[in-house]
């Protein structure tokens, strides 16, 4: 088994907390919410009008038409995030021409385009009226394939879809590609639309917050008064790279991705999370990293602000950190859910939360779990962070859990070279 180490050499973000790393870092530090109320979502038919305030990029000055017209909205976000990530990594067009760069990106649906196509077919009754570019906007893999063409990539290009743990899995899978020597460099990440069409199915589950009159206090993970998640989206991208390769080309190393764990619930309930399975994924990630629970400085929790999700995760975290032999209360890791600020970024959440965690690592702080007035009983033993804390962050466990019972966790470690 090849034991190559995998590091992050570039990051990019396009989210409701900002459209560049420094703005997002500042908003994380100051605990600023990116959630707004959009009345058009109620007119559309949703019960919840809450959403992350993500701006659609104007790509006309950045890309020729032929590369734009095949992009779904989430592929556009992904392009903006990837552009930043490649720039930070120092991987330019010449490098991509001379080397094989992969792209393992996460998305689980391009609902806006599918709704557009469906409406058009019902009105026109002729597929030709959809035009030649529609197909590429409707695919779940729209972000991955459009990134591959926009950046002329020649490595492994694939989409990962695993509901809300999608891009955490994407990071884990890319890490394995690099560890095994299949790729030296891989763009990874996730992207999600904020469209009402995407939120409709979740709204139908009564899983969205109805705190329409108080958007910035609507997402309240682990709080007794939580009433559901807030849908959000955007894109996050990271350049993962073999450590030796990164050192050889003189790249700045932002962090190491040193552990990946996964599990599935193994039950017949598609929408109920499992504490046992989440615990297993996190334990496997720590084991893969060779890191004990006591060494974890910070946990970026999945923390969606849903009734059942937060309870299961709190139980899993409590077990993970209290059952470890070398654990003591003074070594309890700080825990927060950045979804309290961003809402649930869906398919991009695993990647965006990796980016947020690395920004905290480099900023020497832990961002707060906003709106945590009264923690749920299951979280009483956890060190949930209510206000920003200045502290060294060297080891991060980032947890993700998706509907259908697909769980993923990754471990990030600060390294110097």
């Amino acid at each position: 088994m090849n034991s190559r180490r995998v590091v992050v050499t570039g990051m990019g973000i396009w989210s409701c907390l900002g459209q560049d790393l420094s703005t997002v870092a500042e908003n994380l530090r100051s605990g600023r919410s990116g959630i707004v109320f959009d009345p058009s979502r109620l007119e559309y038919g949703l019960q919840s009008g809450l959403v992350g305030n993500v701006h659609r990029p104007d790509l006309r000055r950045l890309l020729p038409r032929k590369l734009r017209v095949t992009m779904s909205p989430d592929a556009e976000y992904a392009y903006m995030a990837a552009l930043q990530a490649f720039a930070q990594a120092g991987i330019d067009a010449d490098y991509r021409e001379a080397h094989e760069v992969g792209c393992i990106f996460g998305s689980d649906g391009a609902m806006t385009s599918i709704a557009e196509l469906t409406t058009l077919m019902r009105e026109e009754h002729c597929s030709l009226m959809a035009g030649p570019n529609m197909l590429f906007r409707c695919l779940s893999s729209s972000a991955a394939i459009n990134l591959a063409t926009a950046f002329s990539l020649r490595g492994a290009v694939l989409n990962i879809g695993a509901t809300c743990s999608t891009s955490s899995h994407a990071i884990g899978v890319a890490m394995m590609y690099i560890r095994q020597g299949l790729q030296d460099v891989c763009l990874v990440g996730g992207s999600a639309e904020t469209a009402a069409e995407t939120a409709a199915g979740v709204d139908a589950l009564y899983a969205l917050s109805l705190r329409n009159d108080d958007p910035q206090r609507a997402s309240r993970p682990f709080d007794c008064d939580r009433d559901g998640m807030v849908p959000s989206g955007g894109a996050a991208a990271l350049v993962l790279e073999d450590y030796d390769h990164a050192v050889a080309r003189g790249a700045d190393i932002l962090a190491e991705v040193c552990g990946y764990g996964f599990s599935a619930n193994g039950t017949d309930d598609i929408s109920t999370p499992s504490a046992d399975a989440e615990y297993l994924a996190m334990q496997r990630a720590l084991s893969d990293a060779g890191i004990s629970a006591a060494e974890v400085d910070y946990v970026n929790a999945h923390g969606t602000s849903t009734q059942v999700g937060d309870i299961a995760e709190a139980e899993a975290l409590t077990r993970l950190f209290s059952s470890n032999a070398d654990f003591s209360p003074c070594k309890a890791p700080l825990i927060s859910s950045t979804k309290s600020m961003t809402g649930h970024e869906l398919w991009m959440a695993g990647a965006s939360e990796a980016v947020y965690s690395i920004l905290m690592m480099h900023g020497g702080f832990v961002a707060p779990n906003l709106n945590l007035d009264n923690a749920i009983p299951q979280a009483q033993q956890l060190s949930l962070v209510r206000r920003t804390i200045k502290t060294p962050v060297n080891v991060v466990l980032s947890n993700s859990s998706g509907m259908g019972g697909t769980n993923s966790a990754i471990v990030l470690r600060r390294i110097t070279h």
Binding site: P64, R65, K66, V69, T70, L128, M129, G131, P132, N133
Partner: protein, 84 residues
């Protein structure tokens, strides 16, 4: 409808929709070599013809044309009295 009329109707489609440079829209401009028309652009052009001139070009017809003038004349020849 004359070729001049047809050229005029295509103008905004080429400039605004396909984003071809206005200065490149010369009668003898080659669709692929000069304008950069891709296979997807050709399909989009067929859709524009259907919407604007009322007939559906045969499969692959646009890809088989060489210059802008060829395109304009192709449309002129296929416009019917029902779809002037």
């Amino acid at each position: 409808m004359t070729v001049t009329d047809i050229r005029s109707l295509f103008h905004d489609f080429f400039v605004d929709r396909l984003e071809y440079a206005e200065a490149d829209l010369l009668p003898d401009a080659m669709l692929r070599a000069d304008l950069g028309m891709t296979s997807l652009d050709a399909l989009e052009t067929a859709l524009f013809i259907r919407r604007t001139f009322g007939f559906q070009p045969e499969r692959g017809a646009i890809k088989g044309l060489v210059t802008l003038d060829d395109l304009y004349h192709y449309v002129e020849q296929h416009i019917t009295p029902e779809n002037p």
